[in-house]
Amino acid sequence: MINYVLHIVIISEIFALFAVGLQLQIGDTGLYNFGHVAFFGLGAYASALLTVHGVPFLVSLVLSLGIAGGIAWLVGFPILRLRGDYFGLAMLGFAEIMRKAFLNEAWLTRGPMGIPGIPRPSFFGFTVKGLPGFAVLYGGLLLLAFLFVHHVVRSPLGRVFHAIRDDEYSATAVGKDTFRLRRVSLVIGTLLAALGGVLWAHYITFISPSDFTLNETILVLLIVVLGSGWGIPGSILATFLVIGFQEGLRFLPLPESFGRIVAPVQQMAFGLVLILLVMRQHLKGLGKGEQLAED
């Protein structure tokens, strides 16, 4: 029982990193990134491949973040020219192309068979083994990430993110290089997603392309929408709620015949919740910041 709880906590910690990255982009900067999962996947694949080939965990962690961040920086060049739903859709396209690459570049990724046997995190001669170890290590990293993002959001940089979210035109009219700033937000969010992906790979020890689909994107979007209005802490809390619900159901003693439909029914519930949250947000008059076209 305690192991179930620890497992849920660990998964939540991983997804919280993933969600905080998206909250920074959507909630603070107005970048509706529907392809966030690509960077979660990139982090996971990069670190899995590196460590399987003998690169030490810490080195691999840094390299993987660098790879994901670098790719976000490059992708930002063309895609950040877009805004609003078009930006979101182009990122979604990028994420699907990445997934196809994980699937098709089998010489590197073993394609649909995935990468098994990813080593547990180890550093300075110490290897993380038991669930409590993971919970503490990942919790610590989440805390660090939280402090980092919190500091950024409350700084002049965070203020200018909020300004861009409210009205990008005004921000340029007062001399802000909004392209650069939006890219900074994209890259920071990506680093958090990639960190989540790395931690995921080394906890689950097996990854495959089906871990990084549109479903994960919608899940994390649901988390962010659920936590919206309460900033970064809101998305962390929302993560524990949603993941707790998702993973918790798996351990209910359900009859075999029912088990087959648990997952889809759960996803249906998520879909409904997302719809209801959006409708509530609209009633509260939120989500207006993103209306760029004006006449």
Binding site: Y32, P78, I79, R81, L82, R83, G84, D85, Y86, G88, L89, A90, G93, F94, E96, I97, K100, L103, N104, Y169, L214, N215, I218, L221, V225, R260, I261, A263, P264, V265, Q267, M268, F270, G271, L272, V273, L274, I275, V278, M279, Q281, H282, G287, K288, E290, Q291, L292, A293, E294, D295
Partner: protein
Amino acid sequence: MTLILQSLLDGLIAGSIYALFATGLTLIYGTLHFINFAHGELIMAGAYLAYLFMIPPLSFSPFLSAGLAVLGIIGLALLMDKAVFRPLRNASPLLLLIASLGISLFLQNLAQAVWGAEIRTFPFSLERGLSFGPVVITRVQITILFVAAATILFLYLLLKFTRAGKAIRGVSDNPRLAETFGVESEKIIRNVWILAAALAAVGGVLYAADTNLEPHMGIINLVRAFAAVLLGGTGNVWGALIGGFVIGLSENLGVLILPLGYKDAIAFFIIIILLLFRPEGILGTRWGVR
């Protein structure tokens, strides 16, 4: 050479189906100004509904099943609009998009809960193909081409000659007109949903007849449709129609040079490239300052 001819033919057939998806999606985009992610699920649900009528115990004929499926999907679309999109009428396009993502997730998993995740096919007997020299076309494919052409002709006549059709085109060609239409606009929106749903359902049945059915078939077809919409210029019905054929052809010709596994990524490539390099038609109007 044969390979190219065969690919052209396959591309044409696929394109005629995508054209149905795309015209429906662009009508919605033109009138309601958001990307309806659940359009793919209207396609998927149309195929499954027809399947339900075709298999025992009902065992209806394919045409009757398709007709009933169209009616069912029109109902579904109107329900979606009434429950979700109407209350959100003036919301930002992003909120609408996210809400439609929620609907998409819901319907996909509903299908999976009912029918399971496995791939199914319509219970047609496998008819032998007719061959024209080295190029092969099946009876089913010929039927698909006919039905698609008839649907497009029907759409053309509807939009061109009926009062309701002209009103729809008026709104989708010129968003400002929406204000002019005033009270009429809810009626126009309803007609647009009916039309878009019917196109999605017919297309979904044809697609399933050409390939197969599975609960997640909606998403890739939404992407194809959206690529076609962008190609044609958002809100432009005939543009989307041509866009659909372009996507069908580029997928089937594209795999001649790309690995087969990337076939489904072609529409995404097209979307990204279009979004980036058509700043006037697509972006210019969206990001206008005052």
